[in-house]
Symmetry: C2
Subunit: 244 residues, 2 copies
């Protein structure tokens, strides 16, 4: 079993809060029920009453809302260090579904254990509130993307956001990152057709901005991408601990 | 000065956590810097570094993101009992702007006081995490609305959500609620033109579902509206305390 000192969640929360030994130990105990979940099978169904959340330690997950007509809207993707269903535990019903994009590893956290952890270490509760705020800021950006950005800017913004998120947990470098998403995931998340997604990715490649091929995103011209997307990373708050 | 025992925020958080005298006193201290803000002038600008959040006690506020081309996307409206800029304090930069829809009353909360309050009463931190989760669930619904719902369903969903939120803080009854939003607010929030908003409201009125006139929403047929919108209120979690 991996040590929590280097777990992606610890790494992420440490950006906001300098964690003490006691806090690290409490986080550690939240990682005891590790499980593997296979790709393509829902871990949590929309409407299910939720007594547990998950901390994702390896792999990618897609969260989506099912519509009454059977179509789905992808709300976000979760990467290592993200909570799955934190909101559902607090709201007591899952308002969306989670589907692993690949085989993943995640730790189940019972609502009681989570609430106990908050009671023991308020700084941890504050750090998790920070992470939840960051998640909300991302959903806001996706809303703005679908409402206001053209297809090229929307894609560029989405891929830059992923780069920043992955960099925070050590899964991106200056060249780019591994990305297991298909054109169907991208289309659904961005409100585009799969054909449109292909066209947009071709534009970005032909303009020398980025290449997304064989599960890898390679960024060629970061500044130009940022400009195209109107990307301001401050909502991802990667600037170092506020609580020291 | 009003007593916090009956402040809208206290009323809202009490749905999730049965608050003790100590917790009520801590909440009370967060309400000491009350101020009036005039309609139509931004309280917080996007990009501003934020050392304070606000607790809204009277009136409505609109939160929006400004786009590089100068257009704006309304993300949500805040009603009494809501935080303004909680996310901005935690992320240290405001990722959006707040504009009072009417003259409002709000209490300024310094970041330090908020973090101190969390340290004193972890249950309060958990309750505020619950409120933030609920806010995020609303943004997710708005994303799905813009991405997937037709104009009539989108409007019906939006007005039903407002009814549920207002009911929680005692500002809606079985007939409906006061609503200061203009057709321009509705158009911007729902991604419709003002003309389209008028047409949709006429449909809903002619079908005997609801009337929005002279700043008041009157609901005539709740069940039919819920069906049209595919509205499932569980994401608003109004079911009573989890933390007792």
């Amino acid at each position: 079993m991996r040590s929590t000192e280097t777990s992606p969640l610890t790494r992420k929360l440490s950006v906001f809060v300098a964690l003490s030994y006691v806090e690290l130990a409490v986080l550690d105990r939240l990682h005891t029920r590790r499980r593997i979940f296979p790709a393509g099978r829902d871990m949590v169904h929309q409407g299910q009453s939720s007594r547990a959340a998950f901390i994702l330690s390896a792999g990618w997950v897609c969260s989506y809302k099912l519509q009454p007509d059977g179509t789905r809207q992808i709300v976000d993707f979760q990467i290592p260090g993200d909570f799955l269903g934190l909101r559902s535990v607090l709201l007591r019903t899952s308002d969306h579904s989670f589907e692993p994009v690949m085989d993943i590893e995640a730790s189940e956290v019972l609502d009681k254990d989570l609430l106990d952890a908050f009671a023991q270490t308020p700084r941890l509760a504050t750090a998790i509130l920070w992470a939840a705020s960051r998640d909300e800021a991302m959903v806001v950006e996706h809303l703005v993307g679908i409402g206001r950005r053209d297809a090229d800017a929307r894609m560029a913004h989405f891929l830059l956001e992923l780069e920043a998120r992955l960099a925070l947990v050590g899964l991106a470098d200056s060249n780019g990152y591994e990305c297991p998403l298909t054109q169907y995931h991208l289309a659904d998340a961005l409100g585009l057709s799969a054909v449109h997604v292909n066209r947009v990715l071709r534009h970005l490649r032909e303009d020398g901005l980025l290449t997304f091929r064989d599960g890898h995103v390679t960024i060629h011209d970061h500044d130009a991408l940022v400009k195209l997307a109107g990307f301001d990373a401050s909502y991802l708050d990667q600037t170092g601990p506020l609580l020291t």
